[in-house]
Amino acid sequence: MTVWQIILLASIAVFALKIAGYLVPPSLIERPTPSRVANLLTVALLAALIVVQTLGQGQQIELDARVPAIIVAAGLFALRVPFIVVVAAAAAVAAVLRLSGAMP
């Protein structure tokens, strides 16, 4: 599959879900279990993506400058610092640690 095909297929799938909510009778989805699963899916996927993005290097687990960066990010989110500032701060922590040679 090319990257363009991946983009188009995924965009169609995401749009299909959006439009489904306008087409499907509410009684089918708006029951407790499907709603709960949909909300928890978001949580599970984001948590898994954090781990892979923080520790993964292809198929290996690597502890490097990303780990202190994500810890700093968690602390800043807890202090209600805005999203964009936290993302920039995380990048800065990793960049400085690598530049100084403290961590790979």
Binding site: I7, A10, K18, P26, V37, A44, L46, A90, L99
Partner: protein, 227 residues
């Protein structure tokens, strides 16, 4: 008139939320280019997919596995988009209208438009909140995506600038507001452990999908849920 006051308040929250969220587009654009997509592909994602979590997920999986991880990348983006179907159920009653309008509303049915519109009390204010938030974020998100993509293109070596850590922080920022109850916290920890344990054994992208099973099991059984 109370009616127009409500509409004006809805417009104000739409502008506040819209401008704040549109700014995230810079981080998406830069991270997407850092993940190996070009500027056009990055902009196409924001125009066509227009759902932040799904877009970050797609480029995150592609960053780890390249185009070979196409299937898990599509699946991750799709699963992260399932909540938009629930949002559509909530906003559909006050959107109404004909099909062209419903199609545009569907494309703009995301976390923020749902949050702003459903917080309003009158029908007129709900509609105003939805369309203003949608328009501001759609235009802003696509513009800032382009800016971020161009910046990412200039930066070159992404690790040197810590952009890999920025991607992780972006996912954490999307997750953070969802961790107010025990059940999602348990699911997040479970999913994180599953992804970490499986990463060395399975191709990139697959561990993330396996972690989704945690959500299905806990969601169906309602373990740790509020009764």
């Amino acid at each position: 008139m109370a009616h127009s006051d409500e509409t004006r308040a809805a417009r104000r929250s739409a502008v506040a939320v819209g401008l704040a969220v549109a700014a995230y587009g810079v981080s998406f654009g830069a991270l997407s280019v850092a993940s190996g997509l070009d500027v056009w592909q990055t902009c196409a994602l924001s125009l066509l997919m227009f759902s932040g979590g799904s877009q970050f997920a797609l480029v995150g999986v592609l960053a780890a596995g390249g185009a070979g991880a196409g299937i898990p990348a599509i699946a991750s983006a799709t699963l992260l988009g399932t909540r938009n179907a629930l949002y559509a159920l909530r906003v559909a009653p006050f959107i109404g209208g004909r099909w062209p309008r419903k199609l545009l509303a569907a494309q703009w049915t995301i976390d923020e438009t749902t949050a702003v519109s459903t917080a309003q009390s009158s029908l007129a204010a709900q509609r105003t909140g939805f369309w203003w938030t949608g328009a501001i974020i759609y235009v802003g998100w696509n513009l800032t995506t382009l800016i971020g993509a161009l910046i990412g293109d200039l930066l070159g070596d992404v690790r040197q600038y810590g952009l890999d850590a920025a991607a992780a922080a972006a996912f954490l920022g999307l997750l953070w507001p969802r961790l107010r109850q025990l059940q999602p916290v348990v699911v997040a920890i479970g999913a994180a452990v599953v992804a970490a344990v499986l990463t060395p054994w399975l191709p990139p992208g697959i561990p993330v999908l396996c972690a989704a099973v945690v959500a299905v099991v806990v969601g169906v059984t309602n373990w740790w849920g509020a009764r």
